[in-house]
């Protein structure tokens, strides 16, 4: 096994270039610098990683694409009886191995939520599993946080290594890389030179310093009972959800939101079955075929979002809350709705609540 390696700043493109020969390397990159939108895209020679701040969109789509074709189908009519037909199905082809380079601990933690649902459950999602198995995460120790970040409040932290395969520690002159899983070790020969003692020491200092940080106030992980108590408090939810404009951006930028919709798009006798992101903020999410909707307004929908993340999910999955504290939903919300505030408010003035 190789020890820790070092990549100097100016060697990074070279390393990425080399890695991308054998696998798809997704990096956070600014597609239009002026607009400050950073998203994960496959590495290309003229595409540079932006590592000094959190990406606008998490790397969710690497494993869980916004739209994914599950299968192609085509109906073949019986020549003798055109009413009869048989259906030929064709799965999507295999996926290639992927390295996500430069994700942050919160981004990676999002996939742990996914894993509970799509890998460890009674049912395994083959489409998710297929990509998940072939994906490695090279995660960056997170030195930059802002007022919307709250990873420590959800039981994680800026130096949380859970779910990562490689560990990237930024030091003055570059990055120190460390393999965390067996799968990652094969990649180490590609990861620059061996790190010097001094670099390793510097990296340990950074790691230590960052690990000591507590990002976000309070503890949001034990809110399940509070939520249940509040469930019927319509006035509370009205006030909490009032400013929400029912757009879906919080769910789209969320590394843990895993809901999807499946539709068949057919033309004549051929078509494909596609799976696309869905959002519980949308009216259609729970609309029934009859037209009835059990969550008719944003009050019920917003309550569900909180409940799902902080109560239903941890109840079902060993206490794990479906929130990674990345703060994107707060940062990107057009009306700056603060999910932390809502969760903390669950506790307040409880004596007034008529249960």
């Amino acid at each position: 096994m190789r020890g820790k390696t070092f990549i100097a700043h100016d060697e990074l493109p070279e390393v990425l270039e080399r890695l991308s020969k054998t696998m798809d390397v997704w990096i956070p990159t600014a597609i239009n610098d002026e607009k400050c939108v950073i998203q994960f895209l496959p590495y290309q020679p003229d595409r540079l990683p932006v590592l000094d701040r959190q990406s606008t969109m998490p790397p969710k789509k690497v494993i869980f694409p916004q739209v994914e074709t599950l299968l192609h189908f085509s109906r073949k009519k019986d020549e003798n009886d055109p009413f009869k037909s048989h259906i030929e199905l064709e799965d999507e082809e295999e996926v290639s191995p992927v390295l996500v380079f430069g994700a942050r601990p919160c981004d990676v933690r999002g996939f742990l939520v996914f894993d509970e649902v799509y890998l460890n459950g009674p049912y395994k999602d083959p489409y998710y599993a297929k990509r998940r198995e072939k994906t490695l995460f090279a995660t960056l120790v997170c030195e930059t946080s802002d007022n919307a970040c709250f990873c420590s409040a959800v039981g994680s932290g800026p130096a949380d290594q859970t779910g990562s395969d490689l560990w990237i520690i930024p030091v003055d002159s570059g990055y120190v890389i460390e393999a965390l899983t067996k799968r990652a070790e094969n990649l180490m020969p590609e990861m620059g030179k061996d790190a010097t003692e001094a670099q390793i020491a510097e990296a340990q200092n950074v790691q230590k310093k960052v690990a000591a940080l507590h990002i976000g106030e309070g503890d949001l992980t034990q809110s399940s009972d509070d939520f249940e108590d509040r469930f019927s408090d319509n006035e509370f939810w009205r006030d909490m959800a009032f400013k929400c404009i029912s757009c879906g951006i919080c769910t789209y930028v969320c590394p843990t939101c895993y809901c999807f919709n499946i539709t068949d798009e057919a033309k004549d006798l051929d078509g494909e079955r596609i799976r696309s992101w869905d959002s519980c903020m949308f009216n259609h999410y729970t609309r029934e075929a009859s037209g009835h909707n059990p969550r008719p307004s944003k009050l019920e929908r917003y309550r569900n979002r909180i409940g799902h993340k902080f109560s239903y999910f941890p109840k079902k999955y060993k206490g794990m809350i479906a929130c990674c504290g990345c703060g994107r939903c707060i940062r990107r919300c057009p009306v700056a709705l603060d999910i932390r505030n809502v969760v903390l408010s669950l506790k307040k003035n409880k004596e007034n609540v008529d249960v």
């Binding site: 597609i31 009032f242 757009c247 789209y252 798009e265 596609i274 009216n283 932390r340």
Partner: protein
Amino acid sequence: MPMDEKTKTLQEDFEKNFADLELVIGWETGFDRLHATPVFIRQPSELGKLVWNPLCSQNLSGYLAKNLDASIQEDGKKIGICVKGCDSRSLVALIQENFIDRDRLYIVGIPCEGTVDLRRLMHLKPSLENVRKVDIEGDEAVVETDQETLRFPIENVLARKCLRCLYPNPVIYDTMIGTPLKPRISEDKLYSAVEKFDTSDRKQRLAFWKTEFNRCIRCYACRNACPLCVCQDNCIAESRKPKWLTQRDGIREKFLFHMIHGLHLAGRCTECGE
């Protein structure tokens, strides 16, 4: 009038008139002092939350058309709402289209010097921390942090829509806070960007829009923030019957979605920039 004073006048005005109001819609400081967020006040004791500053970008008039159904109408009491110049125009449009009843509103208009585009600000100063206050003084945006006071030329940090705003002053109001302002742009220059765009050839224009729409993630925030996008949950972009769009995320679907948005707002848009 400085921002603090305006905030104070704003609070006082609502306090004076609160007896007639069931609800006040305004802005408060968000999760940090760099963010403002809509606030809905039902108790006079909470009026202290109200703020006015160049971060109050959200157009609150949309809440009136979309979210206030008949049920919250309390015996003849009115809804108080704060509007900037652009917001007031949306309000007029909504009143004209009979989505809201002018008589139910108590409108406090605030002449607006422009709102700060946080993305532009963060681009200039990515590590902006511990902000205390953001204000506009003449042609400069002033950002006070715990450590220092920063000054930026407004053309670098103001939302672009604000730089070409013709209506800094509310066009409809019951009370106005502060004195009317002059637009920062003359009418003849208003469409200079569009004119410039018009000089590009068709293929460049198509490429431009493809690039823009390619970034779209179909989260529908643009639509939901738009005060005049009144279909909301029934938008044909999501409807399966009729089915105008599929769930695919290709450029076609995004393009058509934005065409729907564009054509549905043709002749109605008040250029609030939401």
